[in-house]
């Protein structure tokens, strides 16, 4: 949804540069159409649209670090280029796969927080899928260790919880 609206504006404003300021004070120059993908930036730009010179605008993004932002920007850029062309979904999927394959779990979390804050829904979607993939078919202990989560249950509470969802298995072959 966001990508389709941006693809139309892509041709007109692709040369203009916007400056994004990360949480740790670093400034990054991006094309305007990329910046428009980020909802806080988009809102900010709309509020300040009277100002003639886009170059002068500095968009503050206080919740995202420069390190994450510098990973996000190339992804969004390429993704925009891809969805501007009439390519098949398969290609987009391959691109997403490639992007997420090498992410560490910590990075995944950071990206997800950033994507959530910036409102990049398609990235959020992909990241959720990847996380779900990583924790599925794993034991509880593994998931805890994997995500660095402390167990705050007593064994009894845990057993009770486990017994709670029998319906999920009805009609499913258990092999």
């Amino acid at each position: 949804m966001a990508s389709s609206s941006s693809s139309s504006s892509c041709s007109s404003s692709s040369e203009k540069k916007i400056t994004l300021k990360s949480s740790d004070g670093e400034a990054l120059n991006v094309e305007k159409n990329v910046a428009l993908e980020f909802e806080p930036a988009k809102g900010f730009l709309e509020d300040n649209s009277e100002e003639a010179d886009d170059e002068a605008i500095v968009v503050p993004l206080p919740n995202v670090s420069a390190a994450v932002l510098s990973e996000l920007i190339p992804y969004v850029k390429q993704r925009l280029e891809l969805s501007a062309k009439p390519v098949q979904k398969k290609l987009i999927k391959a691109f997403d796969d490639q992007f997420t394959r090498h992410l560490s779990d910590d990075k995944l979390g950071e990206l997800m927080l950033a994507a959530n804050y910036l409102g990049v829904n398609y990235l959020l979607d992909v990241l959720c899928d990847v996380t779900a993939d990583r924790i599925k078919n794993k034991s509880v202990e593994y998931v805890r260790e994997f995500l660095g989560i402390q167990n705050d249950f007593t064994p009894e509470e845990e057993a009770e919880l486990r017994a709670q969802c029998p319906w999920a298995f009805e009609g499913v072959d258990q092999d």
Partner: protein, 550 residues
């Protein structure tokens, strides 16, 4: 500056996923397969709380069942509940019933309703009430009575199948089984299929839980319920659930042995090992035979008698069918003089088939008395035709006829079995195979010279087809079978055909009762089998001295 960045990412890296806000966690969870949700909720208290809240279920509903959002609330006794319940209902109906369309949700809710009622309370309401509620619900949703009945039956079956195997379920099923029948009009009447499944489940999964008294109570109940029903319900429930259905059938028939007085004699009822693999399949066929119109061997006998009369051959026809009513030929011996099916059914409270088995066992007990006396009336060259009851299990499973035949052999009779297969069976290759198997089974059981006859040939219009069936070619039958049945049966078909083929004993002879030549041909084949007339002397009558004088 660079130091600060490093520090920042480090603290973030500690537990960045643990830090995710709830709605992101929900997004992740609903992408994990449902079967793992229980595991996931065990990871952390915060996570478990998410599964208790409404948000997660709403999101899951929107993601998995996008159409559910538009569904309207419905009138009727079964409520819709919150998102969690709705999700469970939809999930259950997707997994169990694989329906699509607007019925999904209500079916799932009805299922949950029934299961909870049966499982949770220690004394559930009578099944008629629960069934009525479900039917009302469907009718309130504008379904026709037939649809409502059909859906309700499906729900019952699914619930019964999905009950946990514990003692409570056993008690529940027992109560359902013993529940008295209250007469209710359609569609509030419970389907026979459901009742059958209750008994089936008791006799298969819970067999070891019974004590002796309960066992016979339930068995008697099953007999009462099912024996008088000459309907296809048996068949459908059997073919639907082949693995277990034969068990109950077995139980029902075994009781006639039990009741005949000698206590636990079930061992006698054990089918031959050869059939073990095919047993469940056979039972389905057996029942088919029982309830199909009786084979026409009585007509065969009368035609045979008339034919022999015309060619001046003496022949005595013996009736072994205690249920036979009238004959258009003179009967030399009649089992009804010994025992009558009606009396048995009345006095012992057995159904027609159980009664029949009792009668035949009575005959077996009297082989040395009644039969021996009657047989004494006949001389060496007499030709006896025994008209047997059409119930195929007498030949295939119960050793009665086997003992009967042994008795005849011990008195120096040459015995030959004639097996009549209705020619309508060749219109359907699956039926034909069942006929072949039954014939083969009888052959193996009786160990006699065997003549298979395809009767009622006069009704067959396409005479060209017959050739393929008279001497069944394994390849031909196999390809026909595979064409008629779903691909998953291919392996079963192959082994069935191989079995019939390996024995290579089954072939058929056509018989058209309208044609003298056809009867003569069949008769000559039978004569050949029992070597009748081979040692016959020239008839004395022809050399009557009075004739000489003339």
């Amino acid at each position: 500056m660079t130091d600060r960045i490093g520090h920042d990412t480090l603290t973030l890296a500690d537990d960045s996923i643990g830090k995710l806000p709830d709605h992101l966690l929900i997004e992740i969870f609903i992408r994990v397969p449902v079967s793992e949700w229980a595991e996931i909720s065990c990871v952390k208290k915060q996570w478990a709380n998410l599964f208790r809240g409404e948000c997660l279920w709403q999101a899951a509903l929107a993601r998995t069942f996008p159409r559910a959002g538009q569904a309207k609330r419905w009138p009727g006794p079964i409520p819709r509940g919150l998102s969690r319940r709705r999700y469970i209902a939809l999930q259950v109906s997707k997994q169990i019933f694989s329906l699509d369309g607007e019925m999904d949700e209500i079916v799932g809710h009805a299922y949950l309703f029934l299961k909870e009622q049966l499982e949770l309370s220690t004394m559930p309401p009578p099944s008629g009430v629960l069934h009525g509620t479900i039917i009302d619900q469907f009718i309130a949703c504008g379904k026709s009575r037939d649809t409502a009945h059909e859906l309700a039956s499906q729900i019952w079956l699914a619930v019964i199948d999905n009950l946990e195997e514990n003692e409570q379920t056993f008690l529940l099923l027992k109560r359902l089984a013993l529940e008295g029948d209250v007469f209710l009009p359609y569609p509030y009447s419970r389907s026979i299929q459901v009742q059958w499944r209750v008994f089936e489940k008791l006799f298969t999964d819970f067999r070891d839980c019974f004590n002796q008294v309960d066992y016979y109570d339930v068995l008697a109940c099953a007999k009462n319920k099912f024996q008088p029903i000459p309907s296809l319900c048996w068949l459908t429930s059997l073919t639907g659930q082949r693995n277990a259905g034969h068990r109950l059938y077995h139980e029902l028939f075994a009781t006639s042995n039990l009741r005949s007085g000698n206590g636990l004699r079930t061992a006698r009822y054990r089918p031959r090992r050869l059939w073990k693999g095919y047993m469940s399949w056979l039972y389905a066929l057996v029942i088919k035979c029982v309830f199909s119109p009786p084979p026409n061997q009585s007509t065969y006998c009368s035609s045979l008698y008339r034919h022999c009369e015309t060619v001046r051959r003496t022949m005595h026809i013996v009736n072994l069918d205690p249920a036979a009513e009238n004959f258009d030929y003179p009967v030399a011996m009649d089992i009804r003089e010994l025992i009558s099916l009606e009396d048995v059914m009345e006095e012992l409270g057995l159904g027609p088939n159980g009664g029949l088995i009792y009668c035949m066992e009575h005959l077996e007990d009297n082989l040395d008395d009644w039969l021996a006396e009657e047989l004494d009336n006949y001389l060496d060259d007499d030709y006896l035709v025994f008209d047997c009851p059409g119930q195929i299990e007498l030949f295939t499973h119960v050793p009665v006829l086997r003992n009967f035949v042994d008795h005849l052999k011990s008195r120096n009779f040459n015995v030959c079995a004639v097996y009549l297969l209705d020619s309508q069976f060749i219109t359907d290759v699956t039926k034909f195979i069942s006929g072949c198997m039954a014939s083969l089974s009888a052959m193996v059981q009786l160990e006699l010279p065997h003549v298979n006859i395809l009767s009622k040939m006069d009704l067959v219009t396409n005479k060209k087809e017959i050739e393929d069936y008279l001497n069944p070619e394994s390849q031909f039958l196999l390809s026909e079978l595979n064409q008629h049945m779903a691909p998953q049966f291919a392996k079963l078909n192959k082994s069935l055909i191989e079995l019939v083929d390996e024995y290579s004993m089954v072939s058929f002879m056509p018989l058209d009762l309208r044609k003298e030549s056809s009867i003569r041909y069949v008769l000559s084949q039978i004569d050949n089998c029992i070597q009748w007339g081979e040692d016959a002397d020239v008839k004395i009558k022809d050399f009557d001295p009075e004739d000489d004088d003339e």
